[in-house]
């Protein structure tokens, strides 16, 4: 018993000793670790607003993970493309900045753990030969489809849409498709191209970057965009065995001219074989525009000079004055109620800059010279029901929606862009719709704001439970394309009209390719399927065919052109575009493309109530006259009898004096 007791005491001592020592050891290790990373070596800024000069050596792609690749000099032969990861990481190595940046908003779409945030602009795949216009996104935005749902690998997605991405994301994912593995070895990965945004050199060529992406020359894309290098050739044309470090091994005479080749401008290298990158954190709007331009083609065609820029830019601000980010690249998207680790997020929405925290102790509104609005005569209910953008953003609404082309949907700024106003995809705006719930912010969800819209058109399959999924795009291309005989294509890139009989034919053809479901065609808000008798049946306003909308914030119009600046009847009348404007239905089927919906349908507002409320504004002037007249009369009575009462009191007091 005694021995057992002392053993227990020993055990207790050991536990106590361990309890004291282990945390101390851990604390010491943590402190030592901290000491090994003093602030002096961080790649954070020191507060100076002068951009640092980036005179640095170029490094090739690393062949050994975790180590720098070979240094590139003007004598390097054959000249190889520089690697952004290698070149920038020599300095930006602290805490692996590249890996941190990879988690930023522009690069993290493929990370399923990142909250999708407010629905945004999707990537839209269009194919006029199959009547397809489908919104894709790696983010879980309701109404979009993940690329893998249509059979696309990240590699294929990158080749298609990497043109207007700054690299990273899908471009750096190892492909799991056996057929694509050798192709990815040939093309390399599409690394984050810091130059896409940060390069201030006027000779920076982002269009050349997109050209390289289209040619699967991912490894060469960033180099091609730099002002001091030229890239020729095409990785797509090379065999699976091609090695970019040994271009001379290409024996096929036809392919030799197509070997991806880099030519550096010798004068770009100094005596230490360093080159100057004219990069800055103060990113010019011109850089953002390459991926974030849009143009109202109904009003301006493709002539940008006919349309005004965003009022903030013309006032002298740049995009990054609002869409700020630090090294983490967690860009502020700028919508009200945004959940973002960026400490400036709450302060940098419309409200954050123009109004600030209205209940705060110090004035925060009017940042960067933003006018603090008074909104004279606007009843406060408008601020509960409408996003700022409802009155201030997008084009002034017309009787019908306009067609808009954007960089990401139409590849504006690239060399192969179809400049026709009718080119697919057909994006419409402004659609005044209720914003979708986002980031758990129900208040923001109730607000109405202007949106862009597309009507999805795709071949899919409907299961027993009524769920519709799109078919693999390769299947569609191989089966639907040949089955859709007799389509008439135009150089404009517009829809080729599809007739009911053709849909019937394709659906019958697809029946063999679809298992456990029935083939359908979704377009213009309608779902087409074959009924039991084999005839074509359609369901208008089918949920699976609903339009995909995403809020727009730009271009912001000046206050003098905002919706609330005129009379109430600009919006509150039975002819107002805001409530009763037509939203065009877009489809390759003629009978659908002539249909329209009405704006209030997207606001989840019933027709009767909306119409009655608009009608009531006819009587609003009468209301004012009657109410003011009545108040005047009551005031006069009060004044009259008040004076009489005063006279009576005075009389009593006067009699008392006698």
């Amino acid at each position: 018993m005694v021995n057992t007791h002392w053993k227990e005491v020993d055990t207790l001592k050991k536990v106590l000793f361990a309890g004291l020592c282990v945390p101390s050891l851990l604390a010491w290790l943590a402190a030592a670790g901290g000491a090994a990373e003093p602030n002096a070596v961080t790649t954070r800024g020191d507060g100076a607003r002068t951009p640092g000069v980036h005179r640095i050596p170029l490094y090739a792609e690393s062949v050994e993970p975790g180590k720098l690749g070979d240094k590139i000099t003007k004598e390097t032969s054959p000249a190889v493309p520089f690697s952004i990861r290698g070149t920038c990481s020599e300095c930006h190595v602290y805490k692996h900045d590249y890996d941190v940046i990879q988690k930023g908003w522009h690069f993290n779409a493929t990370d399923a753990n990142v909250p999708p945030g407010r629905p945004g602009q999707p990537w839209i795949y269009t194919d006029v030969t199959t009547g397809t216009q489908i919104p894709l996104s790696y983010r879980a935005w309701p109404g979009t489809f993940r690329p893998d749902q249509v059979g696309w690998t990240p590699f294929k997605f990158t080749q298609f849409f990497g043109r207007q991405m700054p690299g990273g994301g899908a471009g750096e994912i190892d492909t799991k498709d056996d057929n694509e593995i050798p192709r990815q070895i040939v093309s390399g990965k599409l690394e984050i191209n810091c130059l896409s945004c940060h390069d201030r050199d006027p000779a920076h060529d982002q269009a050349e970057y997109t050209a390289q992406v289209a040619k699967q020359s991912f490894r060469w894309a960033a180099t091609a965009s730099a002002s001091f290098a030229l890239v020729s050739g095409s990785a797509k044309e090379m065999d699976d065995t091609f090695d970019y470090l040994m271009p001379d091994m290409v024996m096929d005479e036809k392919k030799k001219p197509l070997v991806p080749t880099v030519t550096y401008q010798p004068s770009a290298f100094d005596h230490k074989d360093q080159v100057v990158f004219n990069v800055s954190g103060k990113i010019s709007a011109d850089r953002c525009y390459f991926c974030h331009s849009d143009i109202n083609v109904d009003q301006c065609g493709s002539e940008k000079w006919q349309g005004d820029e965003d009022v903030h830019l013309t006032a002298g601000l740049t995009c990054v004055d609002c869409h700020r980010e630090g090294l983490e690249h967690n860009t502020i998207r700028g919508y009200e109620g945004e959940v973002n680790a960026n400490v400036m997020a709450a302060k940098t929405s419309c409200k954050g800059c123009h109004l600030g925290d209205e209940n705060g102790n110090r004035p925060e509104g009017g940042r960067l010279g933003a006018p603090v609005p008074t909104h004279k005569g606007i009843p406060t209910v408008h601020f509960e029901r409408l996003a700022c953008t409802a009155c201030h953003s997008g084009p002034w609404p017309g009787d019908t929606t306009y067609h808009v082309k954007t960089s990401q949907t139409h590849g504006l700024g690239t060399r192969t862009v179809n400049k026709s106003p009718k080119a697919l995809p057909h994006v419409l705006y402004p659609v005044f719709a209720k914003q979708a719930p986002v980031d758990g912010n129900e208040a923001a969800a109730r607000k109405i704001g202007p949106h862009k819209l597309i009507w999805p058109a795709y071949w899919g399959a409907i299961s027993e439970d009524g769920k519709v999924r799109p078919l693999d795009l390769t299947t569609v291309k191989n089966v639907v394309g040949p089955a859709l005989k007799g389509l008439v294509f135009t150089a404009a890139g517009d829809w080729a009209e599809i007739k009911d009989a053709q849909i019937t034919g394709v659906l019958k053809t697809l029946a063999g390719s679809v298992k456990d479901a029935k083939p359908v065609y979704v377009t213009g808000g309608t779902l087409y399927r074959l009924n039991e008798g084999g005839t074509l049946a359609s369901s208008w306003d089918h949920p699976a065919a609903a339009a995909y909308t995403w809020p727009i914030a730009h271009n912001v119009r000046p206050a003098g052109q905002s919706l609330g600046v005129g009379k109430c009847t600009v919006c509150h009348s039975t002819a107002s575009p805001f409530f009763f404007g037509k939203v065009a239905v877009d489809s390759p089927i003629a009978s659908l493309s002539s249909l329209t919906k009405v704006q209030y349908e997207f606001q989840q507002a019933p027709h009767g109530r909306t119409w009655a409320f608009a009608m009531s504004f006819i009587f609003r002037p009468w209301f004012k006259v009657v109410a003011i007249g009545a108040a005047g009369l009551i005031g006069l009575v009060l004044l009259l009898y008040g004076l009489r009462a005063l006279g009576a009191v005075a009389r009593v007091l006067a009699e008392q004096e006698k």
């Binding site: 609005p373 008074t374 909104h375 004279k376 005569g377 606007i378 009843p379 406060t380 209910v381 601020f383 509960e384 109430c568 109530r609 009655a612 409320f613 009531s616 009587f619 609003r620 009468w622 209301f623 004012k624 009657v626 109410a627 003011i628 007249g629 009545a630 108040a631 009369l633 009551i634 005031g635 009575v637 009060l638 009259l640 009898y641 009489r644 009462a645 009593v652 007091l653 009699e655 008392q656």
Partner: protein, 216 residues
Amino acid sequence: MFQTVADIALVMTFLGIAAHWGLVPTGGPRNVVQGGVHVFSLLLIEQRASILGVLKKLAYLVSLVCFLVLAITGFWPLLVRGEHISGYLMMIHATFAPVFALCLAILAVTWAGANRFTAEDCPWVQRLLRRTTRLHVATEDQPGRCAVLWYKATFWLLMFLALPLILSIVISMFHILGTSWQHFTMAIHRWTGLVFAVVAILHTYLAIRTRMVYNT
């Protein structure tokens, strides 16, 4: 806060009226059904009334209906659903509001004379005035007339409250006030509306009581 205060104020008003009705009998019918019929009959337009009398009664009845509609449409969404007035309720509210304002103006003009305060309105007020001011206030003690004083007071209070109630909403329809002032005018409309509703309920109750006292 408004929701809580409004709930308490309205409940207190109705409880107070019920207690007063029970504790201070008027001499009218005590049976609930008979009392109801009696009260309803007071609202009817008398056959012997002149054209002006009919107009006055009509304006009163219309304003009573409007008041009920405005109170229900105004308070229901706020007190029951916890949200601001909107949709059809808003349209009904805005439709009845100018009619109510017009009726109030007619009542102000036609009823003001009859609602002037006189020395006979309430004996204990006369006594109080005599004691505190030592003035020669005419004395004609008539028991049980204090209800008239309160009736008149609520009338003038209603007229006084009608001004901010109407103007606060009308002025917000002009391009004059900015957002913070719009919030202020809405608050004025809301709070004035609450006080107006309480006073209107009391005024109606006192009107019924004084009629019943006179009739008995």
